[in-house]
């Protein structure tokens, strides 16, 4: 190989995060000791981030099939059939560690990366969402991190011109030293024009396009697979810098080229850059690849083979073109002022061969890089059982509205407007419902069809009961889509957990994946893509587990969708999924419990997936048939919060009857699942339909034009007062 001093030892391997066993296996498969570049390639491919070595066994238990599925997990993104010959292509991805180190660039490159995953498949991205978790509001770093991440998400999405239409954000002290930044992108393609990454045709040219390669983010995949400590923070690896302008040009150039019938296979350069893209393309095609690294467009001088292969410079792609298409392709990339360089060819050898400076810098069989990647069955146990919390142990007699005002004015529930107004949610002019609703709704350009989407997870449930929490994330997303009238189709997921080598963390992962699978099966929303982010720990302390669900669904005619605002005074307000006998509610693991300063971990509300499906389907049907004209799912904060949100967003008030007996706070703030608040113009018909479907329905009260929210006879608050605390909270936090 290149030089003797380049011969690696186990010590080198260890600094790259490889274990002794893994080191031995590499030597055995190669029949010799690897050099630096080769070792770097192995360590990247075998990192948790690229190989899913701790989670693979469990990911295999997730349902991935269904008549709607065109492409399940394994490609750059998943694809589902949405009718009219179109496919929705989507995926979610984490950029947690980079965003903690450099919030702006970390978040921006997270968005850029997930967009590339989607347009690599031939889809034009039409929507972005995100799921964010920050530390406690009062933690010294939170303000800086929130500000930077939001700026970064907007900085990339706004500039490239894809609307950011939804997301979620929570605050909890367990994220003080390890925030979560998950970005989701959704695109549209013709179902018969989807591009994949398997290399084909030995001899075909391998083309590098996009931006030049620099020394940024070298070995990011390994970093993303390591725990955080104060030391890593001070090491400060060169972070990647996003360039949304070049990203936009790359997107337009790729989509233009893909329309020209020149591309055989294509893969973006994400984590582990040129390494993972070349290895994955070759491996999926069962072929080999030979690349001349001297031809790789470089931004800096004297870059080594190791650096070129492991750089995570942004806005780059690798493609295999039809042999006679090179000039067509070159012309397109020139037009968009992007680098275009044939750097190698597909081979039959099954080996990755890298040439540099007239020598061979790397020669390794591709098989072991992928097939021999370790797969662990890490020890795990049973999730702890949790005590149930009785309402009477925690509630008091304060008026409902007092409590409501406190809760709505807290970061857990306050308006996210400060965040989402920094995102362009309308560019492309097809956004029908942007941030602020239950699910976002984006029209399929030039048609009446709509794509609905939402991201959801309730980490405090997952912590209390990982199986319930994993399932609940799916159920909540399902409810959010149902609440606007859209039919859920499929999900993508982002598993954010701590160190899987700890059995209690592994238990969280296993249980929540099992729960997620159960829910996905019951609700007929198979998993088509996803991402795993482990080692989310700081100095040995894990985050609250956060398996985020991104769900996509469809509505035939966007005119039929409803929002979560009251639409007219004097209309009846109902709760669906709750009997008229209910006079208490489930407060364990609720926001209400949190706000009473009880930080015990209690059993979360039980989840009945059959009930979720029944109520969700009922609400959808009623919306589409015109029987419901506003709907809001009940989630964080319970019934009272749901009603207050509908009032604040509409400007109307409401008069709500309260139960005569029971526990009033339990009733108002309990987080029992599978419920919706709805309004209708025809109460009789709605009640009759619910009876017939065997679904509980209870009249709560009426919409009023009084600008007040009234619970019973003498507990009243003005909507303006509620709005002031609801809208004021996050701006005040961010102003410091």
């Amino acid at each position: 190989m290149t030089s003797a001093s380049d011969v690696m030892t186990f010590e080198n391997a260890a600094t790259m995060g490889l274990s002794r066993d893994e080191w031995d296996l590499i030597n055995q498969r190669l029949g010799r000791t690897p050099n630096l570049c080769e070792l770097g390639i192995f360590s990247a491919m075998w990192s948790e981030h690229c190989s899913y070595k701790s989670s693979k066994k469990w990911l295999k238990t997730l349902p991935i099939d269904g008549p709607q599925v065109i492409e399940g997990p394994g490609e750059n993104a998943g694809a589902v059939d949405i009718g009219d010959g179109l496919a929705a292509i989507f995926k979610i991805e984490s950029h947690n560690h980079p965003s903690f180190i450099e919030p702006y660039q970390g978040a921006a490159t997270g968005v850029g990366g997930i967009l590339r995953d989607v347009f690599t498949m031939g889809a034009r991205p039409v929507a972005l969402l995100n799921a964010l978790r920050f530390g406690a509001a009062e933690h010294e770093k939170t303000r800086h991190l929130v500000g930077g991440v939001v700026l970064g998400i907007g900085g990339y999405g706004n500039c490239i011109g894809i609307p950011t239409v939804g997301g979620e954000v929570n605050f909890d002290k367990s994220y003080n030293g390890n925030i979560l930044v998950n970005a989701m992108a959704v695109g549209l393609a013709n179902s018969d024009r989807i591009f994949r990454s398997a290399a084909t045709g030995p001899g075909n040219p391998v083309i590098y396009v996009g931006a030049k390669t620099g020394r940024d983010g070298i070995h990011g995949a390994t970093m993303a697979s390591a725990e955080f400590s104060d030391e890593t923070e001070s090491k400060r690896p060169t972070v990647q810098v996003g360039d949304p302008f070049t990203g936009k040009l790359l997107m337009e150039a790729c989509l233009e080229l893909m329309a020209s019938d020149s591309v055989l296979s294509i893969q973006d350069m994400g984590a582990a850059g040129l390494t993972s893209s070349s290895v994955e393309m070759a491996s999926k095609g069962g072929l080999g690849m030979e690349i001349d690294l001297d031809l790789v467009p470089a931004r800096e001088e004297n870059m080594s083979a190791y650096e070129l292969m492991l750089s995570e410079s942004q806005e780059r792609m690798l493609m295999v073109l039809k042999p006679d298409a090179t000039e067509t392709a070159r012309a397109i990339f020139n037009k968009w002022d992007l680098d275009f360089m044939p750097i190698g060819r597909v081979t039959e050898t099954g080996r990755l061969i890298l040439l540099k400076d007239g020598g061979t810098a790397c020669d390794i069989p591709i098989g072991p890089l992928v097939d021999d990647a370790p797969e662990y069955d890490r020890p795990h146990g049973d999730a702890p059982t949790r005590k149930q919390l009785a309402s009477s142990d925690i509630t008091n007699d304060a008026p409902i509205t007092n409590m409501l005002k406190t809760m709505l004015g807290h970061v857990d529930l306050a308006s996210r407007r400060w965040i989402y107004e920094q995102y362009d949610s309308q560019v492309m002019a097809d956004t029908i419902a942007g941030p602020g609703g239950d699910a976002a709704l984006v029209r399929v350009h030039g048609s009446k069809r709509g794509l609905a989407m939402s991201t959801d997870c309730t980490p405090r449930y997952v912590e209390a009961d990982p199986k319930m929490g994993g399932a609940q994330a799916v159920a909540e997303a399902y409810r959010n889509l149902s609440a606007i009238g859209a039919t859920p189709l499929a999900i993508t997921n982002n598993l954010n957990f701590g160190n899987p080598e700890k059995p209690e963390i592994m238990t969280q992962l296993v249980e929540s994946v099992l729960g997620m699978g159960d829910a996905a099966r019951q609700l007929d929303t198979p998993v088509v893509s996803g991402n795993v982010s482990l080692y989310n720990e700081t100095d040995g302390k894990a985050i609250q587990p956060c398996p985020v669900i991104g769900m996509v669904g469809v509505i035939e005619n966007v005119d039929d969708a409803v929002g979560n605002c009251f639409v007219a005074a004097d209309q009846d307000i109902f709760v669906i999924g709750q009997s008229d006998k209910a006079d208490d509610g489930w407060l364990g693991a609720s926001i209400y419990q949190q706000h009473h300063g009880d930080d015990g971990i209690y059993a979360p509300p039980p989840l009945d997936l059959v009930a979720e499906q029944k109520t969700g389907s009922f609400v959808r049907q009623q919306i589409l048939g015109g029987g419901i004209n506003a709907a809001h799912d009940i989630a964080d904060g319970g019934l009272a919060v749901a009603i207050a949100e509908m009032a604040m967003r509409s400007g109307f008030g409401a008069e709500i009857a309260v139960p005569k007996t029971g526990n009033l706070h339990g009733w108002a703030f309990g987080e029992d699942q599978a419920r919706f608040v709805v309004t209708t113009a025809d109460s009789q018909a709605l009640i009759a339909a619910a009876k017939e479907a065997g679904i509980d329905i209870t009249k709560l009260g009426m919409v009023s034009d009084q600008g007040e929210l009234k619970f019973g006879d003498n507990d009243t608050i003005s909507i303006a007062d509620l709005n002031a605390v609801f809208e004021g909270c996050i701006p005040a936090l961010m102003a410091g």
């Binding site: 302008f245 107004e421 362009d424 309308q426 560019v427 492309m428 002019a429 005119d559």
Partner: protein, 234 residues
């Protein structure tokens, strides 16, 4: 002339991202698809209206609109305007117009230092004769979305007095149902849109092409664009 005879050209820069939206909006109103003209073109076919759309031309690098303002096509646009041709710049298009001096003033960073995407109220002002304002009712505010980071209109006091005196202020921000502060970006004297001294060139920050139907949440964008297009054909 009928609306469908109106020749509209939309200039596309690398990084433009509201070009398609504007094309769809104009086609909705005129039933004729506007021409999209790439920034490297040196000339412009005869057009009754040239639109410079929103987006992030050249990534907003250096200054918003600076690099686009020096693109080859802009010489043709300047010639078109010099002949009295109508030009409308929306958002980044407005920034490009100020960079080339086609409308007075400059657009600097929002006073809140944040990108802002939301509905604003837009008050039509009394202006010199202009196809862009001729059809608007002075008493009737419009609601149209903004989405920008550099929409803070700036000119010195003398210049402001001058353009106000000439009737070159087309729109000011006004209160809207959407709430939030009236002036979303710190713009001098609440100015949201200005005209050239002959009234044939308009730059404005809000995006009418995003308020074209009930599904967008409002139709005031369509109303404004239609009035402008009608004035141009009459």
């Amino acid at each position: 002339m009928t609306l469908s005879a109106l020749r509209v050209a939309i200039i596309v820069f690398p990084g433009s991202n509201c070009d398609r939206d504007m094309m769809v909006a104009i086609e909705q109103l005129t039933s004729r698809r506007p021409a999209l003209v790439w920034h490297k073109e040196a000339s412009l076919d005869a057009a009754d209206l040239v639109i410079i759309p929103g987006g992030f031309s050249f990534g907003d690098y250096l200054r918003c609109g600076a690099l686009a303002g020096r693109s080859p096509i802009m010489n043709a646009v300047l010639d078109h305007a010099a002949r009295g041709g109508a030009v409308m710049g929306i958002c980044n298009g407005f920034q490009i117009l100020t960079e080339t001096g086609m409308v007075p003033g400059v657009l600097i960073r929002n006073a809140g230092l944040k990108f802002s995407c939301r509905n604003v109220g837009l008050r039509p002002c009394e202006t010199l004769a202009s196809p862009f304002t001729a059809g608007l009712d002075l008493g009737e505010d419009l609601t149209i979305p903004i989405a920008h980071n550099e929409g803070n209109y700036f000119a010195d006091a003398d210049e402001l007095d001058r353009i106000e005196g000439n009737g070159q202020v087309a729109f000011r921000y006004a209160a809207s149902d959407a709430g939030g502060p009236v002036n979303p970006n710190g713009a001098s004297r609440d100015i949201a849109g200005v005209l050239s001294s002959n009234g044939r060139v308009l730059g404005m920050m809000p995006h009418p092409e995003r308020a074209m139907s009930k599904l967008h949440g409002g139709t005031d964008g369509a109303k404004f664009l239609l009035k402008s297009l009608e004035a141009l054909v009459s």
